[in-house]
């Protein structure tokens, strides 16, 4: 039994290092470097988004940006409270939220999304897409 572990554990450790290295390479290759943001299938630059949308700030976090609810309305979303919103980052990280959360969310100039009513796990960096379903 013990001899088995003595051989098995180094092999498993090597496989883990290969898995970690392989997925690291994959993640870097799959990184999306676009600077525009697609909102409800319409593509905007950050400057355009800041031009068309109302601003919002979270003084407690010392953060300001554009109001996500206003941005989505400007992007042509109808019946917003009956839809879900998936925010996707350049690294593939994504989170799905509801309209109530969107009303407490903002997008900063450096394309980061914050929600005042959700945990930090819902902060998404380098946003490239906001899908509406």
């Amino acid at each position: 039994m013990f001899m088995g572990k003595e051989k098995l554990i180094p092999i498993l450790a090597i496989l883990i290092l290969i898995l970690g290295s392989g997925t690291t390479l994959y993640v870097h290759a799959a990184q999306n470097n676009t600077k525009s943001i697609t909102v409800n299938e319409k593509t905007y630059t950050v400057d355009q988004i800041f031009f068309i949308s109302q601003t919002r700030s979270f003084p407690s976090l010392d953060i300001s940006g554009v109001a996500l609810d206003d941005l989505l309305m400007k992007a042509g979303v109808t019946n917003p409270d009956q839809k879900t919103y998936t925010i996707i980052g350049a690294d593939g990280y994504q989170k799905t939220v509801i309209w109530e959360n969107i009303q407490n969310g903002l997008l900063t100039k450096d394309r980061q999304v914050y929600f005042s009513d959700l945990p930090k796990a819902f902060r998404i960096k380098d946003v490239i897409t906001i899908e509406v379903r």
Binding site: F2, L17, L19, T23, T86, G92, I98
Partner: protein, 215 residues
């Protein structure tokens, strides 16, 4: 082992872990370092391995995770405290499972190769597992809800993020097993005052830090 002695061990090592997550973790995060990886691969794996080797009591590390997670909840600052608390508790449980599966039955048989392999496997599994648990539980307790597709598309990133933890764990575990084998012991009459004292100090410092930030 005496139950009282084991309980005091859980309390002191769990408190040290929670204290390091709250105070040192926040400091590392402010420095822009990968705090989650460093905290897991050095502090968590170090304290969990040390306590497991010294006490050799299955279940102890699960208890340490609960104590450390509770301490993290007492300090709701420096990142997502809810995610961190879940991650810490999950890490304690995962360490318990993987250490049980990987460790040799005879304690003296920890060869260097085995220690290195165990460090890599345990550190990677504990970090990635803890990460996955938070990605599942945090949305569940939030108003947004949990969506499986959000977890599935992020699996490659989570697997990739564990690589550094695995490499550091490969150093931490052999180092801690070497330290654990040194003849360090406390006399019984000093054991309880020392363990309870350290645990109380950790909790006081974390709560004082919380109150200072609130003020």
């Amino acid at each position: 082992m005496e139950k009282k002695k084991l309980f005091a061990g859980i309390l002191v090592f769990g408190s040290l872990w929670g204290f390091s997550e709250c105070i040192i973790g926040s400091y590392l995060r402010d420095l822009g370092l990968p705090a989650g990886i460093l905290m897991t691969a050095i502090f968590a794996i170090g304290l969990l391995t040390f306590s497991r080797i010294r006490y050799n009591q299955p279940g102890m590390q699960l208890g340490m995770g609960l104590v450390a997670g509770a301490l993290r909840l007492a300090n709701p600052f420096g990142g997502c405290f809810l995610c961190s608390a879940f991650a810490i508790m999950a890490e304690g449980a995962l360490f318990e499972l993987f250490f049980y599966l990987l460790s040799p039955k005879i304690q003296e048989k920890y060869t260097k190769t085995l220690q290195l392999g165990m460090g890599i496997i345990i550190s990677y599994s504990v970090y990635v597992g803890g990460y996955m648990v938070t990605q599942i539980l945090t949305p569940f307790v939030s108003s947004a809800g949990f969506y499986l597709e959000n977890l599935v598309v992020f699996i490659p990133q989570m697997l990739a993020s564990g690589l550094l933890a695995a490499l550091i764990g490969g150093i931490t575990v052999p180092a801690v097993i070497t330290i654990s084998s040194l003849e360090l012991s406390l006399k019984d009459r000093n054991y309880y005052p020392a363990t309870i004292g350290v645990a109380v100090l950790c909790w006081c410092l974390v709560i004082a830090n919380t109150l200072l930030i609130l003020a």
